[in-house]
């Protein structure tokens, strides 16, 4: 529908005070594919997500989503085009219940006036329950988010993205701090989600990446060091060098 790729990032660079955090980077994401980005700390992984979601503006280069240039758009406009992003540390509204958290993300009543007059409709309730089922939180709908475990908060944040039915999911360290079982569940969740969209995952956990990723991109000092299948990556001497160091 949009050529081969949903997201095209071409020759993207950003500079902070003379330091190139992302350097002439070209990257693609396609529907039905989980693409993992790995790399040592400071490689530019999170910065890349910041650039795609409009949190940081690039010094040069192009970002196209569904063929449209999204380079100059604001964060909320980019979200509305269909890009959902989960942050590194789980970011949910602690004082609200799971239900209210999901309801808040429901893509309706976004202006002050419609939010003021918003009434909970059948459609909203149904959608919320559907998503809660998917993220294993159906029986916690009326718990306050602050009572959830770390892993459950991660799921809740993913759920808040799903309710908007994004075409591209960007997940920053989705399994950080999760138990082994929760990791399994998350892997299953992502494999389910990717059936309808493109997923980009930034992650350190190699086993997790191996389990889910169709394609792995290794970043190093803002550039792509290598791209390919997990097996090829893990045996590549350059990658070993970057990770094991100096």
């Amino acid at each position: 529908m949009f050529g081969e790729f949903l997201l095209r990032v071409e020759h993207l660079s950003v500079e902070f005070d003379g330091f190139k955090a992302v350097d002439d980077l070209t990257f693609y994401a396609a529907k039905n594919q989980i693409c993992a980005i790995i790399g040592p700390n400071g490689a530019g992984k999170t910065t890349l997500l910041d650039l795609i979601t409009g949190r940081t503006s690039p010094t040069s280069g192009e970002i196209r989503f569904k063929e449209a240039d999204i380079g100059g758009l604001r964060e909320n406009q980019i979200v509305r085009r269909g890009i959902g992003r989960k942050f590194q540390t789980p970011s949910v509204y602690e004082a609200l219940t799971v239900f209210e958290n999901l309801e808040m993300a429901y893509p309706d009543a976004r202006t002050w006036l419609s939010a003021w007059s918003f009434r909970r409709s059948e459609a909203v309730v149904k959608k919320v329950e559907e998503v809660a089922e998917l993220i294993y939180l159906k029986d916690k709908l009326h718990e306050r988010a602050e009572k959830l475990s770390h892993g459950q908060k991660q799921w809740l944040e993913i759920g808040a993205l799903l309710i908007q039915e994004p075409d591209l999911l960007l997940l920053d360290e989705p399994v950080a701090g999760m138990s082994v079982q929760d990791r399994e569940l998350t892997a299953a969740l992502l494999l389910e989600l990717v059936k309808e969209r493109a997923v980009v995952v930034v992650e350190h956990d190699m086993d997790f990446v191996r389990k889910i990723a169709d394609r792995v991109t290794v970043l190093h000092q803002g550039k792509i060091l290598m791209e390919g299948k997990m097996d090829a990556i893990q045996s590549d001497p350059r990658v070993v060098e970057v990770y094991l160091g100096h």
Binding site: V92, Y93, A95, E100, M104, P107, A109, H142, Q164
Partner: protein, 405 residues
């Protein structure tokens, strides 16, 4: 919540209070009725006209405090320039009244009759253009809301679109308050200078200085204030209220959920400005003058303390806080003028460091956790698992005034 096994005292207590607070809106309704009785019956019947007028004056600050609760307590946006909007509302009203008081007949002794006296003293020969529309009451009433609203809109959009918030926003609003008060004082011929606009007499021929007029104006003010409270209640009970708290606590998340955070913040800032302006206009009507001493940095920050003392996220607290702070101010300035700055200074410190939720924080919720912790001391945690979960009926976010910075 009846259980076969006897539940521990702490759990019983908790389920009791949880049930109480689950009927939060009922409680809010009761608070509202209480407030209405107080404002519409107790004060007018219990106080002489002089005191009633004084209370009416305090209540005009409550409009500002209400606005601050929405904008600061809920939205997390601290404005130190609310006096600007209070003042603009008040000045708009005062300009209309002044023009009415300056008809050519009663100003016949001036070198230019028919213009306000201070203009004449400053050798102005005709009414400045921006004063002319204020000869019309409908225009004036519109201007009371629109002028402060527009200023807040411009400032809000400019700042929030560029993601300026927190301390920077506070300082810039403070600077705006400083600028406006210097401007008013400096341009004496156009604004009445440091004395302000005084000697206001009639509203469409109706003398606002009589006792009867004062009582009527008090009622107008009280009804408007109750209306403002209802408006605020409907806002904080809606999704918009939850959204404001969400963006206070996790602005990034709200932004990345696709909301236009800047517009939402601007909206609540404009709303707060307009509420303040209504307060200002009612101040002018009840007190009979308006001066730059209600515009600058110091009055603006005193309005913040009203909201903070009442409890920064309690609409009702805002009103009681305004009454209490301003009553204290009058009392101390009459009896111990040198103590007032100490009192208000320590109030600031205490409200931040000891009672971040103000008067409203002293209620059941606080005492509940205190008593609970005492009870828990007697009950060993072996029974902890049988505590019934009140979760589904727990209050939403509105019940959790937080002390964020």
């Amino acid at each position: 919540m009846e259980r076969a096994t006897p539940s521990p005292w702490s759990a019983r207590f908790r389920s009791f209070t949880a049930r109480l607070s689950s009927e939060k809106s009922t409680r809010e309704n009761a608070s509202f009725v209480l407030l209405a009785v107080l404002l519409l019956l107790v004060f007018p019947l219990g106080l002489d006209v002089f005191r009633l007028n004084l209370v009416g004056k305090y209540l005009t600050y409550a409009f500002v405090a209400l606005g601050l609760v929405l904008c600061w307590g809920y939205g997390g946006i601290l404005s130190l320039g609310q006096g600007v909007f209070f003042g603009l509302g008040g000045y708009c009203m005062a300009m209309f009244l002044k023009l009415e008081a300056s008809d050519p007949k009663s100003t016949a002794i001036q070198s230019t009759p028919g213009i306000p006296d201070f203009m004449d003293w400053n050798q102005l020969k005709e009414l400045p253009a921006f004063w002319v529309p204020f000869e019309s009451l409908p225009f004036t009433l519109l201007a009371v809301l629109v002028v402060p609203g527009l200023l807040a809109l411009v400032v809000g959009l400019a700042m929030f679109k560029r993601r300026v918030g927190g301390v920077y926003f506070a300082i810039i609003t403070q600077a705006i308050a400083s600028i406006l008060s210097i401007l008013i004082i400096g341009r004496q011929g156009y604004t009445g200078g440091v004395n302000g606009i005084t000697d206001l007499k009639t509203l469409l021929g109706w003398d606002i200085r009589t006792d009867e007029a004062k009582v009527i104006l008090y009622y107008v003010n009280a009804v408007l204030l109750l209306g403002a409270v209802l408006l605020g209640l409907s806002l904080i009970r809606s999704k918009l209220g939850r959204l404001l708290v969400a963006l206070r606590d996790k602005e990034e998340r709200v932004l990345f959920t696709g909301y236009d955070v800047a517009s939402l913040k601007t909206f609540v800032f404009v709303l707060a400005a307009m509420l303040s302006a209504v307060g200002g206009a009612m101040f002018t009507l009840q007190v009979g003058f308006m001066s730059p001493s209600f515009v600058g940095i110091v009055p603006s920050i005193e309005m913040v303390i009203c909201a903070a003392v009442g409890g920064r996220s309690s609409l009702f607290g805002a009103i009681y806080g305004s009454l209490l702070v301003n009553f204290g101010k009058t009392y101390f300035s009459e009896s111990f003028p040198e103590l007032w700055l100490f009192v208000i200074g320590f109030l600031f410190i205490a409200v931040v460091m000891v009672f971040p939720n103000g008067l409203a924080g002293l209620d059941l919720m606080k005492m509940r956790s205190f008593i609970e912790s005492k009870l828990r001391r007697f009950q060993k945690p072996s029974v902890g698992l049988s505590i019934p979960k009140p979760a589904p009926s727990r209050p939403g976010v509105t019940a959790a005034p937080r002390s964020n910075g």
